[in-house]
Each structure stands twice: as C-alpha cells, then as structure tokens.
C-alpha cells in the first residue's frame, strides 16, 4: 500500500530517531568493529596492532579445536531441534485429539519456556549431580556410572536434555496452533473414506504442518546456537576437554578468557556469515509463503 502521510519532512525522522540511534551505536558500530578487528593482530597488552590480512581467519580455520566446536555445534543443534520438535509434535497431536482439556495441557506444558536457559541448566545439573542427583543415582543402581565432569558424551547429553526441556514448550505452542488450524472438513472427508487415525495423520495433517515444522527447525537452530549459552556455561563451562564447547561458547572463551581478540573477532565474522545465511534461507522461504 502507498503510505498515507506523504508531505511530512521532519515527523518520520523524529519517529525513527530513537530506533536508528540505538541500532547504529549498539549494532552497526560494534559489528563493523568486529569485521575490522578480524583483520588485525593485537599484541598481548592491547597497546598496538597491525594489519594481518587473512591471518586470523587462517589461524582459526587451521585450528583443530575450531572444527571440534563446529562438530559439537552441529550435533548439539540437530539433537536439540529434532528432540524438541518430535516430543512437542507427539504431545500436540495428543492434546489436539482429546479436544477437551487441550488448553489445560497447554498451561501445564507452556511454563518451561519462561525458565531462563541458565536456570534450566541448574535444574538439570541438580538432577544429575554425581553425589546426590536423583537420576544419576538411579542410573548408578542400573550400573551406569554418571559423571558429566569427566565424561564428554555424558556432558553433551546433559546439556542437550536441559535445552530440549526448555525449548519443547515453544514448539508445542506452535504445533498445537497449527493442528487446530487444520480444516476439520478434510479430516471428516477422510473418515468417510474410512481412513484410520494413523493414516489421517500422515496423509493430511502432517503435510499441512510442514511450514510450521520448517519454521521451528530454523528457530530451534537459532536457539541452540545462541540462547543455550547460559545452559552450557552453568552446566559444563564448555568441558570436559571442549566436549560441550559450541561456536558461540568458543567466541566467548577465546575473546574474554583467552584475550585473543583477533581470533575471537574472526570467529564472530564467520558466525555472522553462518547465521546470516540461515536467516536468509528463512526470509526467502517466508516471503514465498506470504505471497500465495
């Protein structure tokens, strides 16, 4: 639509000013600095620096721990995304089917979304505490020794479980809303054609859910990339032996703990490109869907 207010020179800029100022100071300035920093090497005291070209990128990309972090990030993100989505879909299908009480179940399942990732981490840490945890104790009786401080796979599993626990409710809300929007007439027609519940789900409901599922896949990956920082930091702090160090955690570790500004900035830039690509895919896709 064409804008209704055509002949105002100052008003739109007054309206835009606060948002533009904040975005310029706290988004573009730091982002450009990150890109600039990625091409410089600083001395240990941060007193002088010299142009290094692509040296920082070469150093990062030839570092084995970077690829370890990349692998961890992929495993972690896929596990969180698929875990949260499949549990949420199962629960949403059941809540949708019982009709009465669907809202009640939504209330009972929605609240973990409000729990901070760091708090979720603490709750699960308590469940699996090697000395007094309930679940680690039960596993001990089954003959499985649990110590996520020593065992990298167990540490990763713990962080994944805590992240799924928090993220499931987000997926549940979307799947339930999408299920309730499936036209009842389609399902009734299928009933008349004597299709059972299983068949109805896979041939009618599931295809209609695919846009939501794709959207959630992207959102869950973004969540697993960034928001789980708090969970990882409280539960494992990236250890043991880097087993739970994701790309974002590594940016933080190298930059703030290791004080290697150039390497951290180069990683930031690589991460920006990665996330930018992901968002671009989502936008393109969303645009296509808005059009029809």
């Amino acid at each position: 639509m064409s804008a209704p207010f055509q002949h105002h020179r100052v008003t739109p800029w007054l309206l835009m000013a606060p948002q533009l100022a904040i975005v310029l100071v706290f988004f573009f300035w730091p982002s450009l600095q990150a890109i600039e920093q990625a091409f410089y090497v600083e001395d240990a005291f941060g007193l002088s620096r010299e142009f290094a070209g692509l040296a920082n990128f070469q150093a990062v990309l030839s570092d084995a721990t970077y690829y370890q972090a990349l692998g961890t990030t992929l495993v972690f993100s896929l596990a969180v995304a698929l875990g949260a989505m499949s549990i949420a879909l199962g629960l949403a299908v059941m809540a949708d089917r019982v009709v009465r009480g669907a809202r009640g179940y939504r209330t009972l399942l929605i609240w973990p979304y409000a729990v901070a990732p760091a708090v979720a981490g603490v709750l699960w840490l308590f469940l699996f505490d090697p000395t007094l945890g309930l679940v680690s104790g039960a596993l001990g009786h089954l003959g499985i020794a649990w110590d996520h401080k020593l065992d990298g796979a167990q540490a990763l599993a713990l962080v994944i479980m805590a992240s799924i626990w928090k993220q499931m409710s987000y997926n549940f809300v979307f799947f339930l809303a999408a299920l309730q929007a499936v036209p009842k007439s389609l399902l009734e027609a299928a009933v008349i054609d004597r299709a059972g519940p299983w068949r109805r789900f896979w041939t009618i409901t599931f295809p209609l859910l695919s846009p939501t599922a794709f959207f959630l896949l992207v959102m869950n990956c973004v969540y697993a990339f960034f928001e789980t920082f708090g969970t990882i930091d409280t539960v494992t702090a990236g250890g043991p032996g880097g087993a739970t160090t994701t790309l974002v955690y590594k940016v933080y570790q190298d930059g703030f703990v290791g004080q290697d500004m150039g390497a951290s900035a180069a990683q930031s830039v690589l991460l920006m490109a990665l996330v930018g690509g992901l968002t671009w895919v989502q936008f393109r896709y969303l645009e296509r869907r808005v059009q029809y």
Binding site: M1, A3, P4, F5, H8, T11, M16, P18, Q19, I22, V23, L24, F26, F27, F28, W29, P30, Q33, A34, Q37, M94, A95, R97, V98, T107, I110, A114, V115, A116, P117, A118, V119, V122, L123, L125, F126, L127, D129, T131, L132, L134, G137, V173, A177, L187, E188, V191, P197, F226, F229, G230, D233, T234, V248, V251, G255, S264, A265, L271, M272
Partner: protein
C-alpha cells in the same frame, strides 16, 4: 461415529499427564531441595518431599549476602526486574514509533531505514559480543542499568511485529481520520495506540521473558555485585564454595529466579500465545 476412539483418548490423556509430571519433576525437586539444610541434602539422594528447614534458606538469601555472591538476593531480584522492565518498555516504545514511520510515511531513504533496522534480526548480541562490550566500555556504561538495557534493545524483533500489525490496519481508517482533520500524531495517539493494546501485551510478555532470562550480556558487563542479575548469580553460587555445591541455596535462588517469569507467562498466556504465533506470519 468412527471418528471417536475412546481408547485412544484415554491413552492420550495418560501420556499427556505423564509428560506434564515429567516436565515438572526438575522444578519439583528444586522446590523440595530448597527446604532442606545442606547437611540434610548431602546425607541422601535428592529428596522428593519437603524438609524441615522451611523457608529459612529463602530468608537467609533475601536478608543478607550469602556465599560468594557479595550481595543479597533481594538486590538481584530488583536488578532483574529493572532490566526486564527496561528492555520490555524500551523496546516497545522505540519500535512503535519506528514501525509507525516505516508503514505510514513516505520519506526519502525509507527503504534504507527499513533494511538498516531489519538486518539486526539476523545477528543476536552473542555474535558481536566483544566489540559491543568495547563500545559500552567506551561509553562508560559498564556496571550500570543503561549498559544492561540499551544494547539489548538494539534488535528489531518488536519493530518487526509492530510493522506486521500496522500493515493490517485498513487504509480507510487512516483516510477517515485525515478527512476529520487528524494529523499524524493525533492519529497515532487516538486511533493506532488504542488499537495496538493486545499487541503491546503480547510483546510485553515476550520481551520481559527475553530481558529477565539474559545471561551472557549481564555476565560480561557487571563486575560490581550491586548490578548483578539473579540468573547470572547462579553460576557464582555454584562455583563459589570450595568442593561442596551449596545446593540448598542454589535451588532456592533458582526457584526465586523462575517465579516472576513463570508468573508472567501463566497470567498473560493468551496474549503470549497470540504474540508468538502471530510472529510466524
């Protein structure tokens, strides 16, 4: 009718109930553990029932500096509340104005402004954490509420949602207002803002949770315990004690850190769900 299958219904109720219990278990254990003394906790595996410390742990935490925290939990709760409210209100305020300009005004560089703002959707603060830290340090905003709040307002999620909503406002409404002689400020105040109430509520819930649950940013820029938030303090509590984790304090603090956001989400569930699901469109 063959549409109904009571057997499946009962199975669904059973599984749903079981999952609700399982999802509640970690929180239930934290609540019960927070009512035990430390010695009591370490004499067994985590207890499923309440202990006899009652609310003593909470009283100690809220009343004075405990462990390595350097401040009392009351201060932490106040800081978290200020930060969450600042982010929620600030984001809504600037995004209402910016979205209004982008949707309802024709002005040069409008497209450029649009892209300048929406490109921020792509990069959360975690990606550019170091340079943002340096900018905030240069501005002298470390250990301040402004430093906690402002950088987190610099993303366009709220602006995007407000724009989506404004685009659905019928052009006839604007026309009618203009014929009645209303200028842009009048139209905003008397027509658009009252229409946006539900959207504000939805945005408020989402942004309040976002602000309250922030971790990395407050962790970096607060050295002074007086500006620490409750979510960040958990890590300090976990690591401060040598050897034994003070689980009675940790669980109590975790419970206090969960209560406000869970309260907000349950009270405003209707708006929250609407806001979330609308954002997908």
């Amino acid at each position: 009718m063959r549409y109904r299958r009571p057997g499946l219904d009962w199975l669904s109720h059973g599984l749903l109930g079981l999952c609700c219990l399982l999802f509640g278990l970690p929180v239930w254990l934290a609540v019960t553990a927070s009512t035990h003394t430390l010695g009591d906790l370490y004499s067994q595996t985590a207890p499923l029932g309440f202990g006899d410390a009652g609310l003593d742990n909470y009283r100690e935490l809220l009343g004075g500096a405990v462990g390595g925290l350097g401040t009392d939990v009351t201060t932490l709760l106040v800081n978290s509340t200020l930060m969450a409210l600042g982010i929620a209100v600030g984001k809504i305020a600037i995004s209402v104005l910016a979205a209004y300009a982008i949707v309802f005004f024709a002005f040069p560089l409008r497209r450029l402004c649009f892209w300048l703002i929406f490109i921020t959707l792509m990069l959360p603060v975690e990606v550019r954490i170091l340079p943002t830290f340096e900018v905030v340090a240069d501005l002298g905003l470390l250990d301040s509420y402004a430093g906690l709040i402002l950088p987190l307002i610099a993303s366009a999620t709220a602006t995007f949602l407000m724009r989506q909503f404004y685009l659905t406002v019928p052009p006839e409404l604007v026309e009618a207002a203009r014929i009645d002689g209303a200028g842009p400020w009048r139209f905003l105040r008397d027509i658009l803002l009252p229409l946006s109430k539900t959207n504000f509520a939805a945005l408020f819930v989402i942004m309040f949770l976002y602000g309250w649950n922030q971790y990395l940013w407050p962790l970096l820029i607060t050295n002074d315990a007086d500006y620490l938030t409750i979510v960040v303090s958990l890590k300090r509590l976990l690591t401060s004690a040598d050897g034994l984790v003070p689980w009675h304090y940790v669980t109590a603090t975790a419970v206090l850190a969960m209560l406000p956001p869970i309260g907000v989400i349950l009270l405003m569930q209707r708006y929250f769900v609407k806001g979330l699901v609308d954002s997908e469109k």
